[in-house]
């Protein structure tokens, strides 16, 4: 009996020590060093304009204005909401994820068809075959900040018309916010939608 009690006590003390070491000492030490060395990144890579947080450079946003680039379909609406939606309770709170539709799911086909129609309405001079794959498929996180360069370029005509900015100006904006493949081979080329739209907003005077 005493032996059993002893092994139980050792196991218990061991577990508590490990909670302290792995659950507190390690993450708190990492927090301290991170806050010291990389304060911006460690706090969510927030973008501030005039002292106000307008978003994070890592996270996409849900854009509706015809003058802005659109991101990919999101199952969680990029956690973007209006004050009315919050009051009405239609915003479900912080989350992330996808629709989890199987390739064979008829709802997937319906959703994509709807997004195709929406795109063609906003870009009347474009056809179905012009639509890049990523603009009509939902991202895995629902927060994807990026689109492919093709998906950005295909929107240029529509945005130029709505915003009054020239096409070459918009193309320059895309160029500036495109990240190339790392070392020329790792990952994919992508354009950050929020960064593009912040530049547009600046040019048309929404933000200073």
């Amino acid at each position: 009996m005493k032996k059993v009690w002893n092994s139980l006590r050792t196991a218990l003390v061991f577990a508590v020590t490990m909670i302290v070491l792995c659950g507190f000492v390690y993450p708190l030490a990492l927090t301290g060093v991170s806050q010291l060395l990389f304060p911006k990144q460690a706090n969510g890579s927030l973008i501030e304009i005039g002292g106000k947080v307008v978003g994070s450079s890592l996270i996409g946003q849900d854009f509706e204005d015809a003058r802005f680039f659109k991101g990919r379909p999101s199952a969680v609406g990029y956690n973007t909401y209006t004050a009315e939606a919050k009051k009405a309770g239609t915003y479900a709170g912080l989350s992330s994820g996808s629709y989890n539709y199987a390739p064979s799911n008829p709802d997937l086909k319906k959703r994509i068809e709807k997004d195709i129609q929406k795109f063609l309405k906003a870009n009347p001079d474009k056809e179905r075959k012009d639509i890049p794959m990523d603009l009509i498929t939902a991202s895995g996180s629902g927060l994807d900040p990026d689109i492919t360069p093709e998906a950005a370029l295909v929107q240029v005509d529509g945005i130029a018309k709505a915003s009054g900015l020239s096409k070459s100006e918009l193309k320059a904006i895309i160029q500036r916010n495109t990240t190339a493949k790392m070392l020329g081979s790792f990952g994919e080329e992508h354009v950050n939608v929020l960064a593009c739209n912040l530049e547009i907003a600046q040019k048309i005077g929404i933000i200073s």
Binding site: F24, S34, Q61, R72, T179
Partner: protein, 572 residues
């Protein structure tokens, strides 16, 4: 293609020195970390009053079970009470009882199946004191069991569980997690105790942005082949995996330790062999080796299985979903559920790695994979030997090696031997039992779920894919993987209890049986290698091993795979 090859090349370069370091830690040879770690260890041994005498396999297995049980108990209490504890800026309430049970078993068994969403379901206190803590200890438990088994097989005594745990955590996991964590933070993964922040967008709307001690969790999540994300979308979420550099860091950190276990195994056998030879021939020669001939054989077999799967998955995803082509869209691969910054190549690589090395982290949503793209991760978990989780993957593969030796022995008419020990009735019975548990859990529980209303209620995709959702969930639980066809509505009493049971038996029955086999072989007298001995350290044996694994898996799982993914493919 090129980027996949380069990433795997990096893995090969890293795995050899890390494996050697792990070998030095396991057999207590001098390492560069000793000056610091020795002090920490001695301090811990002293305050814990730990008896560090050698254990036999029974004592080792019992201690592992006891320590895991105590941790489960503490963790369960914390999850239930998290609503009233401190460090709760996101205002999570106490967790419901069946969900708490599922979560705690999930994390203790290194599965990390998540039936909750991290953003709202857990307080920061729980993320740290339960999730991060268990990510360390469950990985260290798997590593310890594996090292005990390998010591037994190579003719050493099995070691001491507490000592293995502490050495693994202080010399391997914590230092590695700290370095990887810092790399992740530098690329944008948040590491703060501050709560979520609300942004005011340029369209006049609001956006909530999740934060927290994400990097600390993220690094050990991969290093310990755990896989449970801080947020619901796991490593697809840009906050957990912001760019290609972090993606490769996460890939390598989940591959490195399971791969290194095989190298460690090779070193142990090589050293034991050398000592024996030195005693016989009275000469001391020390050749530098990369991973030893036995290690190389196993590593090769695992690599072949891995590459076959990866190739098929990548091909299927590049071909995309024919439904979209019919809608008039130009096909550039299946991007549903994937992130633009990773694209098809890095996503299919991640999918193959996370299911081979049974981590369970995802950077794209597996439910939306093409039928054959989803077939591969499922198959990887059904095999459960393609590198596998930290420690336990090697243990499973060694059981298949015993089986392969036995089958070859029958074919050529010799007594089967592995690593210089005779394989006899007792070992074969245990090995068969260990191999049969896995399909029994997956197929048995899948059939239960299919005939129960409560099980069918979880299905969210109609048609054949519904069966795949159930099958995937149980394959993931039994293999202690933790990824999911996330569409499955699994936070119900039925699914919480069912998958909890499968995870529990999938983990502990295998470990106990495998330690028993090692213990039984350890007690046997070594037989001398003769010209008639079946060589188990050759390329031929690697191929034999691959064939044995594939035949067993194909026979057991082919019928159900035909009804799930294959049927879905044919109806697309």
């Amino acid at each position: 293609m090129l980027q996949i090859g380069l990433t795997l090349g990096l893995f090969l370069i890293l795995v050899i020195p890390v494996g050697k370091y792990m070998y030095h830690v396991a057999v207590k040879q001098r390492t560069f970390a000793d000056p610091v770690c020795d002090r920490v260890d001695h301090f811990l041994f002293r305050i814990l009053h730990i008896d560090i005498r050698e254990m036999n396999w029974k004592k080792y297995a019992l201690t592992l079970l006891l320590v895991n049980a105590v941790m489960v108990l503490i963790g369960y209490v914390i999850l239930r009470l998290q609503g009233i504890l401190f460090l709760n800026p996101n205002k999570a309430g106490g967790m419901e009882s069946s969900l708490s049970l599922n979560t705690i078993i999930s994390f203790m068994t290194n599965t990390n199946l998540q039936h909750y969403a991290g953003e709202s379901g857990l307080s920061y206190f729980s993320q740290m004191a339960v999730i991060i803590f268990m990510m360390f200890t469950s990985a260290a438990s798997g590593y310890s069991a594996c090292m005990a088994m390998v010591r037994g097989l190579s003719g050493r005594s099995m070691g001491n569980f507490y000592e293995d745990m502490i050495r693994c955590i202080t010399r391997i996991l914590i230092p590695a997690a700290f370095v990887v964590g810092l790399i992740l933070v530098s690329q944008g993964v948040p590491q703060t105790l501050k709560g979520p922040v609300t942004a005011y967008t340029i369209e006049g709307k609001m956006q909530d942005i999740a934060r927290g001690p994400i990097a600390a969790l993220e690094s050990i999540k991969h290093l310990g082949t755990n896989g449970g994300g801080f947020t619901g979308a796991n490593s697809a979420n840009p906050l957990e995996n912001p760019n290609i550099l972090t993606n490769i860091t996460e890939l390598l950190s989940m591959m490195i330790l399971p791969g290194a276990c095989v190298v460690t195994f090779g070193h142990m056998l090589h050293e034991q062999h050398r000592l024996k030879q030195a005693a016989e021939l009275k000469k001391e020669k020390s050749k530098k080796i990369l991973m030893g001939s036995h290690g190389r054989t196993i590593f090769l077999a695992m690599s072949i299985l891995f590459l076959i799967g990866l190739g098929i998955c990548f091909y299927a995803e590049s071909k995309g979903n024919p439904v979209l082509s019919r809608l008039g869209i130009v096909q550039t691969g299946n991007m549903e559920g994937k992130e633009v910054r990773f694209g098809i190549a890095q996503s299919s690589l991640f999918t193959s790695v996370t299911t081979s090395f049974t981590t369970g982290t995802v950077n794209n949503m597996h439910d939306s994979l093409t039928p054959i793209g989803g077939f591969i991760p499922m198959l990887n978990m059904m095999l459960n030997v393609v590198f596998g989780g930290i420690g336990v993957g090697l243990m499973n593969m060694l059981i298949y090696a015993v089986l392969a030796v036995f089958l070859c022995g029958l074919m050529i008419g010799r007594t089967p031997e592995y690593l210089g020990k005779k394989i006899e009735g007792k070992e074969m019975k245990l090995a068969a039992l260990s191999i049969i548990i896995h399909p029994l859990l997956i197929l048995g529980f899948t059939s239960v779920a299919v005939i129960c209303q409560a099980g069918l209620a979880g299905i969210t995709n109609p048609g054949f894919h519904g069966l795949s959702q159930i099958l995937y969930e149980f394959a993931s639980s039994a293999a202690n993987n933790g990824s999911g066809f996330e569409g499955l509505a699994d936070n119900t009493m039925f699914w919480n209890l069912m998958t909890g049971t499968v995870m529990f038996f999938g983990r502990y029955l295998s470990i106990i049986i495998q330690l028993a086999i090692a213990g039984s072989l350890l007690r046997k007298r070594a037989v001398n290698t003769t010209a008639g001995t079946l060589r188990t350290d050759t390329g031929t044996f690697s191929i034999t091993l691959v064939v044995v694994v594939l035949i067993f898996a194909a026979l057991t799982f082919l019928p159900v795979l035909a009804l799930g993914p294959v049927a879905e493919l044919l109806t697309l």
